[in-house]
Symmetry: C2
Subunit: 441 residues, 2 copies
Amino acid sequence: MTDYRRLRVALLGAGAVGSQVAGLLIRHADELADRAGAALDLVGIAVRDVDAPRDVELPRELFTTDAEGLIVGADIVIELMGGIEPAREQILLALTSGADVVTANKALLATHGPEIFDAADQVGASVYYEAAAAGAIPIIRPLRDSLAGDRVRRIMGIVNGTTNYILDRMDREGSDFADVLADAQAAGYAEADPTADVEGFDAAQKAAILASLAFHTAVPVDAVHREGITSIDKAVMDAARGAGYVVKLLAVCERLDGADESPSGEAISVRVYPALISREHPLASVHGANNAVFVEAEAAGNLMFYGAGAGGVQTASAVLGDVVSAARRHIAGGVGVGESTRANLPVLPIGRVTTRYQITLEVADEPGVLATVAGILSERSVSIATALQTVLNEANGEPGTARLVIGTHSALEQDLSETVDRLAASDVVARVVSVLRVEGE
Amino acid sequence: MTDYRRLRVALLGAGAVGSQVAGLLIRHADELADRAGAALDLVGIAVRDVDAPRDVELPRELFTTDAEGLIVGADIVIELMGGIEPAREQILLALTSGADVVTANKALLATHGPEIFDAADQVGASVYYEAAAAGAIPIIRPLRDSLAGDRVRRIMGIVNGTTNYILDRMDREGSDFADVLADAQAAGYAEADPTADVEGFDAAQKAAILASLAFHTAVPVDAVHREGITSIDKAVMDAARGAGYVVKLLAVCERLDGADESPSGEAISVRVYPALISREHPLASVHGANNAVFVEAEAAGNLMFYGAGAGGVQTASAVLGDVVSAARRHIAGGVGVGESTRANLPVLPIGRVTTRYQITLEVADEPGVLATVAGILSERSVSIATALQTVLNEANGEPGTARLVIGTHSALEQDLSETVDRLAASDVVARVVSVLRVEGE
């Protein structure tokens, strides 16, 4: 075996991903050395409890509770603890000690990204985070490097495996949200407290990271508009299916023109919500817990990146790719490539975005209702693309009422949401059954 | 605007891609400078005829016929001439003059890749070639960097847009090969001489590049087994559809175990042929002239990369991403990351591969035929997974004959192809209608 320069690799955290990373570093040491051009010596694993059970059997002498002692002197620090502190502090320590950092910590990057990237810039080190955006799907390098000479118009991502698993099963089986969620929890696809997934918090963090990268702008997670999937029930799913759509929780990152806030008129929108997408769209065929990121670029056209969204060993693959990159940089010398946030575009609130709504109403089954509804829409210049009225009976609803599904043309979110408020307040509308955006058209 | 260090960029060739690259370099100069951390000055465009018409309007003073003069003194040389010579010579000149090189030249890399990568290694420069493998789809960085810590088991790629366009239309419309080809030529989707596309030469070059990268092994294009799509007719398409398959021209790059040729027992196979793929497989939904690369990795699981396979402006996006990477490397300092061919695995001939065949035969409609056919298969230990016999009449064939479709279990190619020879020679077989491999199961 070639006599390689040796690099000291420190691992922080030995959970589902961390223990897989440690196992692969040890098991594939020779092959990784060939690829990195350097031997990657795992010198220690910092954990809270050295005796806790692990997913992978690892040499006991590697474990330590002294994270700081391990970090100082390492060439590459892999942070897989998750959470904000002490991850933030230890990453900053690693950077100031001269190490490159690999992390999968989306919560940290979506809240303290600029601080960490600045710290790396100041010492000429690099922070790698392929595993933070869409599990094992290689999306960071394509956005940062491959599309660096292009302009991204829009990203639509299915970036949360749990919600895609739930929505996909509801769609295929006609089941209800609560039942599928309970099943998903039993099968380990959803956490006991599913809030982070089903309320879109996890997807919002990933959206912030993807938007920052695609638009060269620091996007804090607070600037991401977020809606979860808990209001999606069997009726909504059935209606979507009937209209040729499927419901997906989408992270949408979009470049907008004509904004007064920026000299170029350019701004961005970053939002997470359940949306209707045509069954012909490539994202519609992303099933189960898989993820996919659909990118619309000015020159490259439409691209899609598809793969497993989560899982210990899948995420470990992304982490190890970053470790090899970090090692190559160490060997090659030179300074790391910093994050580009020079575009610094304003992030507009959801009201400023142009979308299309599909509004499902329960209305009185009497003459003139459609005219009244159409009148309310026209007050805010919302024009109707499709309208479908179904008279309800005992089998499918309240006799004497009808279900009215209105698809709008593109309009400003603010006008659309005010229109929905007016509809809800109208005498002819018994109930607003659902309001969903239509994306990907 | 920031006062950036200036880099001299030389462009060789101003065809469909080259003129788009030049136009984007000029039009997006400020934005590219921000992303690269350096101003990218297009200092000249070497062409054979400075007065030839171009797709994009460009300043006349940039054009020169003196390629060598332009190359010497450039920091980054973009080679978009195509062909082997003088592209090879000029790339070598660029590298020895201290420039990094960006190229989209798949023919050159698939034949002279090792020579060019060695030359780059010797001077510490880098060769970037994202546009050479699958048009605008970012696949090189994911394979080289993102999956550097993983092990790729298999790649199945739809890497030629022309043949996918033809096969997709044949599948959707039930049309015949010759008619669709003529249409594709009229619409500009296929060349007047379609040989490079329909005989699989273009796909074989891309397969060689993908396999080299995925398996860290120099794979010359001559080692790629290649079959084209000219034998795919309406009857083959109909039979595939009836069985739940679609026919795609696939580039398959596979890691094989148990080979005596290598100390580890590992070897690879690289092959291009039309194959049956289940309609449920993600590759089946790649329509029109689009490309997609499906990657099966040990840890990351299944990934797919999808996008436009060709087109001047799409390919220009990939080239510019490489130019920005090359510029960052120049600014950061350090040596370039060389190609890793350390694994150096043997490339096995097609006969050593394990595949599944779907064999369609025209046989006499008489008792005992299936037994005879089954007997011939068992002689080479090929076992039958499915058998479907349809009696033919005047409407669908020769009365008194039957069509027999045999799906085999996995077996060695050599045994399968010998079995087909024996079937063809058998008295009960009137004609071997088609033989296709089944992939992706």
